[in-house]
Structure formats: C-alpha cells, structure tokens
C-alpha cells in the first residue's frame, strides 16, 4: 500500500485529536484527545519506519534503517504513561475540590 494512505490516516487522527482538544469541555475527554494525537504520531512513525526500511533493504539486505523510529515509539509510550499518571492525579485533585471536571470551572484566574 502506498505511504500516502498512512499519512492521511495519521493526519486525520491527529486533526480529530486537535479538534477535540479545542472544542470539548470535559477534562477527561480533552485528555483522551491528546492521547489520540500522540497515538496518531506513533502510527505515522511506524509507517515511516517501514517506508525507509523498504527503501534501504533493496540496496543493502540486513539493514537496520528505520529501527530508530520504532524505538522512538516506545519512548513516546513511556512518556505518555508518565503524563497520564500525573494528569489523572491532577484531574482527581481538582474533582475533590470542585466536584466537577468541566474545564469551564477554570476561570478563577481570569481578572
């Protein structure tokens, strides 16, 4: 399959994530949309990794071109997990104080 399809799929997922972040009001849903953005990037990384591998393996069999992108995916997963643990803790902390996770509550700092 041509690489274009993967690029369009990943960009579509990314844009859905961005649109969700910008329009939704529920902190958890915003958070899920951010995760969607990160996973779109993961998908694109794997697709590009395969593309560069396929281009290189024709000339040099046994090449390791493209491995770095797949390793990058693991780093993104680890960082995303760290962010989830911190982010959910922050949301729970806010819920304890306001009994809501609606981000329209976040207007105390506006003057």
């Amino acid at each position: 399959m041509p690489i274009n399809y993967y690029i369009f799929l990943a960009l579509a997922l990314f844009c859905i994530g961005v649109a969700g972040v910008l329009t939704r009001r529920n902190a958890i849903i915003i958070f899920m949309c951010i995760e969607l953005m990160l996973n779109a990037v993961n998908l694109l990384l794997v697709a590009f990794s395969k593309m560069h591998y396929a281009a290189a393996v024709a000339n040099a069999p046994g090449t390791i071109v493209g491995t770095d992108a797949q390793l990058f995916v693991f780093f993104i997963m680890v960082v995303a997990a760290a962010e989830v643990s911190v982010g959910l803790a922050i949301i729970v902390m806010m819920y304890r104080n306001t009994h809501s996770i609606d981000i329209n509550f976040l207007n105390r700092l506006k003057h």
Binding site: M37, L45, A82, V86
Partner: protein
C-alpha cells in the same frame, strides 16, 4: 553527562532522605548539598571528563555553549534554594519530594542543553515539564493552584503532541532523527521538512510562552505557589530557549528562508502582547508573568539570528534574567500583599531590600550599567548582524521603552508612596545573598567579558 546522571540520582536521594529524616526543615540542606555535587560534576563536564563511561551513540553532544548554560542554571538554582528554600518547605507536607522534583527538572535541563538528536530533545523537554505540572499543583487545597496545574498540564501535553508531529514529519522526509538534516530533493519531502520546522517552532513557542501561544502563562504563573513560579519563570524558561536556539542553529541554520520571517512575526507579537498587557496589571506576581513573556520576546532574537553573537547574548541574558527574577520573587514571597499597593513605602521599612529590588527591576528594564542592558544590547546586535528587519528592531526598542513604565511603577510604589509595607522574617543572611545577586548583576553589566570571553572562548 555527569550532571544528567547525578541530578536524576540526587532526585532519588532526596526522596529517600524524606523517608529517613523526619525533620522537614532539613530538606533544603540536602538539596544544597546536591546542587554543590552537581556543580562539581558540571565542572568535570566542562572539561570533558566524564565520570560515567557510557556509550551515548552521539545522541548527546557536550559543547561549551550548553555546558556553560547548565552552570548558569545550577548557580541560579543554588541561589534560588538558598533564598527561597524555606518557602518551598512551607508549601505543603512533602518538602523532600518538592526538592526531588526540582532535581528531576534539572536533569531535563541538562538533556535540553546537550541533545544532539530529536529523541533527546523530546525527552529533555518532557522531563523538564512533567515535574513542573506536579509542582504547579503542589498546593492541593488551593483551587487556583489546581486550576493552574490542570491548565499547564493540558497546554503542555497538547504542545508535546504538536512537537512530536513536527519531529515525525522531519523523520519522514529525511530518514534520520539527527540534528544535521540531510538535503532533500523531492518537492513533497521539502514540504514535509518545512511543515516539520513550523510545527517544532510552534511547540517550542508554547513551551517558552511566546505569543500567540502565551495564554496559559499568566494564569499558570499566577496560580502556582509563588516559590515554584520563581523557578518556572527563570531556569526552566531559559532552558527552553537554549533548546530552541540549539535546534534552530544546528538543525535548521541552513534553511533560514523557511522560518526566519515567521520567527520575526512571533517576536513582534510576543513583545507587543507581553508589554502592553503588563502595563494594566495590578498584581506584581502577574506583572512578572507578563514581563517574563516580554523578556521571552527579546530572548527569541537569539533564535531569529543564529550566529555567535546570539549564542553569547543568550548566555548573558540567561544569567541576567535568572538573577534579577529570582531576586524579585524572593522578596515577593516575603510580602503579605502581592499587589503594587503591597509595596507602598517599603523603602522606609526596609531601605536595603527596596534598593536591591530597584537594582533587579532596573536590570529587567534594561537600564545601562546592569547586565539586563547589555544582554538586550547583545540580542539586538545579533539580529542586526544577521541582517535583521528594521521594523522588528524598532518594535523591540519601543517595547523596551514601554516596559520601563511598569517596572518603574514598582520603584515608585516603594519610594514615593505612603504605606506600611513590610517584608516578613527577613534575616541578614537573606539580605546578604540578595546583595551578592545584585553585585553580580552590576558586575556582569560593566564587565560582561568575565562570563563571555574568559569563559566561553577559553573552554
């Protein structure tokens, strides 16, 4: 390398000492010991003597620019802990953990100052940010602190997503994560590289709070516990700039036609938005948040003009800005009232403190004989050497003039208004440290070569 490893290790040491030492007022001493260890480790780094033999596969590069910045960051953090360490312990019950998180941030600063690979850029920025989300929300019962941390977290991870997309597009076009971007030939690849550069610029502009991506900054800086605002607005912010400058110089320096004009527009927007809004603030803490945005505008000149002047200038700027802002925040923490009225008549009660705050403010405003003046001068000089745009430089000058207004309001409140402002528990040691900071600012202002020539070029 030494600093990166040891700061992470010392973060763990801090957490364990929290288990074994019941007295939480000892936390700052453990932190100071850790910072001294890190400074020694940084000395070895500067001379390319690595205490840990490890193969890093060329993913990190320890050049003097980044390492000198790490020295500045460590010294600023040391000054910060010495001045405000007691205030960190008052934020909540977890003094050791707060300091541990500060050490993890320093680990991120070390990576951001020496990355040579986009993966390391990503990790460095994230390791800097994630502990800060926690520190922003450290005051758990305070709704403002909750709100600030949630906002910071959502904006931070959103910009991370944008940064990752930029990195991936660059990878797709070039097939490498290294900073040296190979030349691309096809039109589609060229487009992907351009899009990647723009996305990375947007994401980093988010992190250093440049307009039009600065909306989170005043709220987060205002809501976070004041001690942590001080750290966020100085060391972390400047580290973001070092990462920004290194990326655009090392990786995109040959493609200035793609991004230079965009950066110029961002600079103008940042300067205007930061300075104009700062004029209308009633709270000194919030004014400092906007002032940090306007200072970011000046620091962005280093990204705009990628040359040797810019690199020297951003180091001087980092030192001047960190010293002055940490000093002002240290005094602000001791005040009861954070508004401008809260400073009324401080000169009568605490003449020395008022004088020192005036020196810090003058340096931020860029008055000659202070380090702030020379660092702004260097930034503008660098952009002229890079063939800078005339309208941009004129905007910068006008904005610097506007900034004098809101900085001098603070001096006016302290010296010329009646009031009974007083700073609580100010001891002689605190004053002595502030005097050291002020003397450093003036020394750097009259003899900047101490930092730049003697240090930067010898190493």
């Amino acid at each position: 390398m030494n600093v990166i490893v040891l700061s992470a290790v010392w973060g763990v040491v801090m957490m364990f000492s929290g288990l074994f030492i019941a007295d939480k007022s000892k936390a700052k001493y453990v932190a100071i010991a850790g910072l001294l260890v890190l400074l020694v480790a940084n000395y070895f780094d500067l001379h390319h003597k690595f205490l840990f033999a490890s193969s890093i596969g060329n993913m990190l590069q320890f050049e003097s620019f980044g390492m000198i910045f790490v020295t500045i960051a460590l010294l600023s953090t040391l000054l910060y802990v010495l001045l405000s360490g007691a205030a960190v312990e008052k934020v909540g019950n977890h003094a050791y953990e707060y300091f541990a998180l500060l050490f993890f941030v320093l680990c991120g600063v070390g990576i951001a100052a020496s990355y040579n690979n986009l993966l390391m850029l990503f990790l460095g920025i994230e390791i800097m940010s994630i502990p800060l989300y926690i520190l922003t929300g450290a005051d758990k019962r305070n709704l403002k602190s909750n709100e600030a941390s949630l906002k910071y977290f959502l904006m931070g991870s959103f910009s991370t997503g944008i940064m990752l997309l930029g990195i991936v597009l660059l990878y797709g076009a070039t097939g490498t994560f290294n900073l040296v971007i190979p030349a691309v030939s096809k039109a589609s690849e060229n487009m992907m590289v351009s899009a990647g550069i723009v996305l990375l610029a947007i994401a980093l502009a988010f992190k250093v709070s440049a307009a039009p991506f600065h909306f989170w900054t005043p709220d987060v800086y205002d809501g976070a516990p004041t001690v942590f605002t001080s750290f966020m607005a100085t060391v972390v912010k400047v580290a973001g700039f070092i990462a920004f400058v290194r990326l655009f110089e090392n990786a995109f320096g040959g493609m200035t036609d793609v991004w230079q004009y965009t950066i110029a527009l961002i600079i103008a927007a940042t300067l205007i938005a930061g300075n104009i809004t700062a004029v209308f603030q009633q709270s000194v803490k919030r004014m400092l948040a906007y002032s940090s945005i306007s200072q970011a505008g000046f620091m962005l000149f280093a990204v705009y003009s990628v040359n040797a002047f810019a690199k020297e200038g951003i180091l001087l700027y980092a030192a001047a800005y960190c010293l002055a802002t940490i000093g002002i925040f240290a005094v602000l923490i001791k005040m009861k009232d954070f508004t401008f009225e809260g400073f009324n008549g401080l000169a009568k009660q605490q003449p020395l403190l008022a004088l020192l705050v005036s020196i810090f403010v003058l340096s931020l405003a860029g008055i000659p004989l202070t380090a702030g003046f020379l660092s702004k001068y260097y930034m503008v000089l660098a952009s002229i050497k890079a063939g800078g745009l005339l309208w941009l430089i004129i905007t910068a000058m006008l904005c610097a003039a506007v900034s004098v207004y809101y900085y001098f309001r603070l001096i006016q409140a302290m010296y010329f208004k009646e009031g009974d402002a007083n700073a609580i528990d100010v001891n002689p040691r605190f004053k002595a440290l502030l005097v050291v900071a002020a003397v450093l600012i003036i020394l750097l202002g009259v003899y900047p070569n101490a930092l730049l020539l003697d240090w930067f070029h010898i190493l």
